[in-house]
């Protein structure tokens, strides 16, 4: 039963990717897509999803979409503008800072780490149980609490709502 319920979200994900990659939705695409996605779900279900009940919670999906939209528009634009300004004026103070991280779930920590890497100006270097080590283009503070406020607080807020 656990195997089946963890297979469903994976199968849905694979089906969406299959149709998007094919770029058309004729009967042939849908039939082969269903076969491929069921096979992938059965084979990879437990490999990918550990707690399937979280996948069926609509609030988590709402927060995922909200986070995606906000990240792609507001956060990315802000970071890009900041880095462009720094490149033109060469006003940079690069360095690695230690940032505490509160979320415990693996996927939410990955979301935070990838979000930090994907915004220009900050790159995740390493991660242990309580801290992320971030290479930052403009080190204004070396205190972990304040660095967290500037770098990862927003990501963590969303990651908690999506995955915890």
């Amino acid at each position: 039963m656990a195997r089946l319920s963890s297979a469903i979200p994976v199968a849905v994900l694979v089906f969406i990717i299959y149709i998007l990659f094919t770029g058309s939705a004729t009967l042939y695409d849908i039939i082969t897509g269903v076969i491929v996605s069921v096979a992938c779900g059965v084979l990879f279900g437990e490999f990918v999803v550990r707690n399937p009940s979280k996948c069926f919670d609509p609030r988590r999906w709402f927060w995922t979409i909200a986070y995606f939209l906000k990240y792609m528009t507001v956060i990315e634009a802000r970071a890009h503008l900041d880095v462009i300004k720094r490149i033109l004026t060469m006003d940079i103070r690069p360095g690695i800072v230690k940032v505490p991280i509160d979320v415990k779930n693996d996927y939410s920590r990955i979301l935070v780490a990838h979000s930090i890497t994907n915004t220009p100006g900050t790159v995740t270097v390493d991660m242990d149980d309580n801290y992320i080590y971030v290479n930052w283009i403009n080190v204004v503070t070396e205190k972990p609490k304040e660095a967290r406020k500037r770098i990862s607080e927003e990501f963590e807020k969303f990651a908690e709502k999506i995955f915890e």
């Binding site: 490999f47 920590r109 780490a113």
Partner: protein, 254 residues
């Protein structure tokens, strides 16, 4: 770089430029603006016409219909190359697990690989199963599929795959299933009164009203399985730790 190297490189580039200038002004550049007659035949007949494979993808219809026997024997060469690679790396004793040292990658790499490997399987299946409609096919899809075990070997370890049942032997079994299915597909037209590797009209060109181009979709599917599993077996062999071979061969120094 030494000074001599730079001079040699400069002379070489100058020579290439001079030769191409010479060809442009003195000789004749082989520029084709039309298709050769054989290519024209394939372009005309691939979908319409009396010798049609009923596939809009001309390259796939050449691969598995017009020049099908060539591709069949090339699959044989592929099979032999992988079999002989396996024979070179044969380990007769049961391989014992080498204890891993160190922590490996952080879970950022590992869990990202988990998600990406599923997506690669979806994309490679889409490449293989639409080989008769869009660019792609069994060879390309299978090569893309083989990236998944490679990623898992690098991010986790070889034993993560083998613990889940994907050993060298299962990969070879899956691969043999693909190859045997291809051979059966080759022989079906003989039983139906046609000739070897005939496509239409032995196989239906449409199934449930959807264009499947006769046998092309089946050949692509089984080639996808055979190529993917064959490369998986090779990668599993390549990732055997060197210590295991040290024990068996024993000749080489550290």
């Amino acid at each position: 770089m030494k000074r001599g190297h730079i001079i040699a490189l400069g002379v070489f580039i100058a020579l290439i430029l001079l030769v191409s200038l010479g060809i442009t002004f003195v000789g004749k550049v082989p520029m084709t603006t039309d298709v050769r007659p054989l290519g024209l035949f394939y372009l005309k007949n691939s979908y319409f016409g009396n010798y049609a494979a009923r596939s809009p993808e001309v390259v796939t219809s050449i691969l598995w219909d017009y020049r099908g026997l060539d591709t069949l024997f090339e699959t044989g060469v592929f099979f032999l190359a992988i079999i002989s690679a396996l024979a070179l790396f044969r380990i007769e004793k049961k391989e014992e697990k080498v204890k891993e040292k160190g922590e490996g990658f952080t879970f950022i790499v590992k869990d990202t690989v988990r998600i990406i490997s599923v997506l690669i399987v979806a994309v490679s299946a889409a490449i293989a199963l639409h080989g008769h409609l869009t660019p792609g096919g069994g060879f390309q899809g299978g090569s893309a599929l083989a990236v998944v075990p490679l990623l898992i070997i690098v991010a986790f370890s070889k034993y993560a795959l083998e613990g889940r049942g994907l050993t060298k032997d299962t990969a070879m079994i899956v691969r043999s299933i693909g190859l045997i299915s291809i051979i059966i597909l080759v022989l079906i037209p003989l039983a139906a009164g046609g000739y070897l590797m005939q496509n239409l009209p032995v196989f239906p060109s449409h199934i449930l009203g959807q264009l499947t181009s006769g046998s092309l979709v089946f050949y692509n599917l089984f080639e996808y399985i055979a190529v993917g599993a064959g490369f998986t077996a090779v990668f599993l062999l390549l990732s055997i730790p060197e210590k295991v071979f040290h024990k068996i061969i024993g000749g080489e120094k550290e």
